[in-house]
Symmetry: C2
Subunit: 471 residues, 2 copies
């Protein structure tokens, strides 16, 4: 009985979550894609007048603008998800604008929610030139919920952009304002840009995203089942990527689907999937040579592959910002699994390691507890090669685990071919006390399945934020 | 930028985890099955001499003793799991003894670990009368690891039971000592018994288990692939159930497999599956009428169904004790999902709700945040009826969520057919401030799939225990 009461109360000082503000940096205007105007304004969804809550992104290109999106696979899709999905299907992947609000997720708001989302689309469509023949605005919402949108204020905010008071622009400051309009519990606006070349022509892409909690996206392409309901939820992953390349709608979608799997669908803060997760990409062709065809996977395979690679890397950059800003996060951990039979197997195992409460609390405690990593790895059933075949099994004597520091110093193997190394605990602590480090798991199986996941630790601060979110 | 630094440090006083000691109660000796002797001793695996670390359970019945087990499905199975599995296959489901040690899990200990587990089997076999022709002892280990067993001390401990100093007995005190020998981070020994009747004959079953962290078992019957490796892990679910009914080996296994799915495979503390999870059941026939046949699902369907029901209920009782003693747990929550197409769908959804970090932190915060429950529900893909058919989808307008107090007062519907109720927050707080309550989710789909899961909340205390487990 001596053990009883061992696990009782004590006072704990929560470690200061390090400031993440330095991850927001100015970007040169020349790195932003041409043919877009943006803004972020205070429309009145949020009470605080100094906080931006409505963002607009509009393509002004003379070329057709392609659009693609990946939406949450959650059964309880929010109204803006359902509406944007439907628009992409109606237009066959053409859209010229994005409207986003923060402060209210318009999720689980029934018929009224759908009406409000459509209103946002139609009001934003009215800002487009030439005026669209069909709906050409995609809509996104995020925030603390259980309520319908203050749609009158939002409509007024959108209409204000057609007046001389309008602030749509293409400077860094305009992009920054749009990025700020996405924010909810985020501690910094998440904005990045990059320049790339396809066939000797220079293009640009820039994008923004938001998210800190309820982050474990699983998004797929448009064409999901419709249905809506009402209720209080919160938080979400939202993002958009804008490029001035010209890409056919179907190839934009397939490149995005590939990129999202390897970026936004490969991050976890808390293992919880939201009802609003949405990633949109627009390609307006504004930088394409006159008369050039749209990049397409069938007619321009090389160009498509370059574009897909750029999009995937860029999406990963944006996704990682969400993990860095994860609720209560003090660590940024890259989990790499290789030597698996397939990419999907590697991805499932990396996901399991990245969501394990025992792994994540050990990361917080800066404890090189690879046993927990192994237990998480072994808990994932591998997929059979065909529906009727026996699934492959992990051979424990071939598995290796290594901690990889981010500072360029030597990696630390802790398990090699199933044999535990005699670990230098001082060195282990040194690596785990870094803000950034990696965990590599090599299953040593035949097959080249490899996947990377990004996760953060699990801290007192996470419990504090989410233990009394509504109070 | 006003939001920046919002999520910074503060001092938090960890709520006192309520004492769980009252869940350990004396049981009448008449409720224990006949034909078993047990003990728990200090063999020296653990340093503290007042702590028991070796348990022995031996059937003294003149009838054949049937044995069945479910083992972890983790790819990294510990040595005792591999050895017990092999014995059950060799004997065709006959075994008369169980030996268990705590303090060292003998997991990931390579060839030496397997040798040590076999030594424990053979030494315990030597205590059986008549002496067995084949191995008839099942072995289990649990504890903080990375090391091989102190096998000399364990052998001496087992052999001491053949001497006049031996403490094997059948009193409550003997059962209690055996239960204590299972304990690691548990705060109380977990021991229960029950009396039941089949065909007018009275039988008894009693059992014990242990576990507090790394609890999210997924166990299946014997016959898994072999393989072993080395490494530091910890914690586990172990349990055994002893009955004096006579049950054929195959029916004991099928009843146990059914029972484990609805008990031990339906609990979660932290969503992490261990490498050592093992549940064993022995049926020694000591209370069966002379000359009676063993209960079997083909030759005595009625008797089998009664036995299966009793075993399932009893296994659930034992499983629930583990959740009550979950690391850092302050709540005991019963999650019931119904109106699903199949039991498996209901079970997957109940499991997802029970492991959601956002749900569990809200439970800790006594926050009736049903939105998080809904998001978790919607994140689970339902199974297609056949491999080639389209999976069914949840209709959000048919889903209802209810909080159910344990004190017999009225349940509180918070979502009815997809429509949020206007929730009396005072009443909600009243229910969630109870130690025990339930969450009912009705999907409203055609099909009678229903499953129950037991979980606990996610507290600062959990982070404290697991953030510096090894230090």
């Amino acid at each position: 009985m001596s053990r009883m009461f061992k696990r009782l109360s004590s006072t704990v000082t929560i470690k200061a979550t390090p400031s993440k503000a330095h991850h927001h940096v100015p970007l040169p205007s020349s790195s932003f894609p041409t043919g877009y105007v943006l803004t972020g304004i205070h429309a009145g969804v949020k009470k605080n007048h100094s906080v931006l809550d409505l963002g607009l992104i509009i393509s002004t290109s003379q070329q057709p603008t392609s659009a693609a999106a990946c939406f949450t696979r959650n059964a309880f899709k929010a109204a803006p998800v359902l509406v944007s999905d439907q628009i992409l299907q109606q237009t066959g992947g053409r859209a010229r604008a994005i409207v986003v609000n923060s402060g209210c997720a318009n999720a689980v708001t029934g018929r009224q929610g759908l009406d409000d989302a459509w209103t946002m689309v139609k009001e934003t469509d009215a800002l487009l030139r030439p005026l669209p023949a069909k709906n050409e605005t995609l809509v996104m919402s995020t925030g603390v919920i259980g309520q319908t949108l203050p749609i009158t204020k939002i409509v007024a905010g959108i209409r204000s952009q057609a007046t001389p008071e309008g602030t749509l622009g293409s400077t860094f400051e305009a992009w920054e304002r749009a990025a700020k309009a996405f924010m909810t519990t985020d501690t910094f606006p998440k904005l990045r840009s990059r320049v790339f070349t396809i066939g000797g022509v220079e293009y640009r892409m820039a994008g923004m995203d938001k998210g800190a909690g309820m982050i474990h996206p699983n998004m797929g392409p448009a064409g999901t089942t419709f249905g809506a309901s009402k209720g209080q939820l919160h938080a979400t992953l939202l993002g958009c990527i804008l490029t001035d390349a010209a890409v056919s709608p179907r190839s934009l979608q397939s490149a995005l689907t590939y990129a999202v799997d390897r970026s936004f669908n490969s991050i976890s803060v808390d293992g919880d999937m939201s009802t609003n997760d949405t990633i949109v990409v627009l390609a307006n062709g504004a930088a394409a040579p006159s008369g050039a065809k749209e990049i397409d996977e069938e007619t321009d395979r090389d160009g498509y592959e370059v574009f897909k690679k750029e999009l995937t890397e860029f999406a990963a950059d944006l996704a990682k910002l969400v993990v860095r800003d994860g609720e209560g996060a003090t660590k940024f951990v890259t989990v790499n699994v290789k030597g698996a039979p397939t990419y999907k197997d590697a991805h499932s195992i990396a996901s399991r390691i990245s969501t394990s409460a025992l792994v994540k609390t050990a990361l917080y405690g800066e404890d090189a507890n690879w046993g927990r990593i192994l237990a998480a790895t072994g808990s994932v059933p591998l997929r059979p090669a065909t529906p009727t075949s026996t699934p492959p099994t992990i051979d424990p004597t071939k598995v290796s685990v290594t901690f990889v520091p981010s500072d360029g110093t030597a990696p630390l193997p802790v398990l090699v071919n199933g044999e535990p190394e005699i670990v230098d605990e001082v060195r282990a602590k040194e690596i785990l006390s870094l803000e950034d480090f990696g965990v590599d798991v090599d299953l040593g199986m035949s097959g080249d399945g490899e996947a990377t996941y990004w996760t953060c630790d699990f801290s007192y601060e996470y419990v504090r934020i989410n233990g009394d979110y509504r109070s």
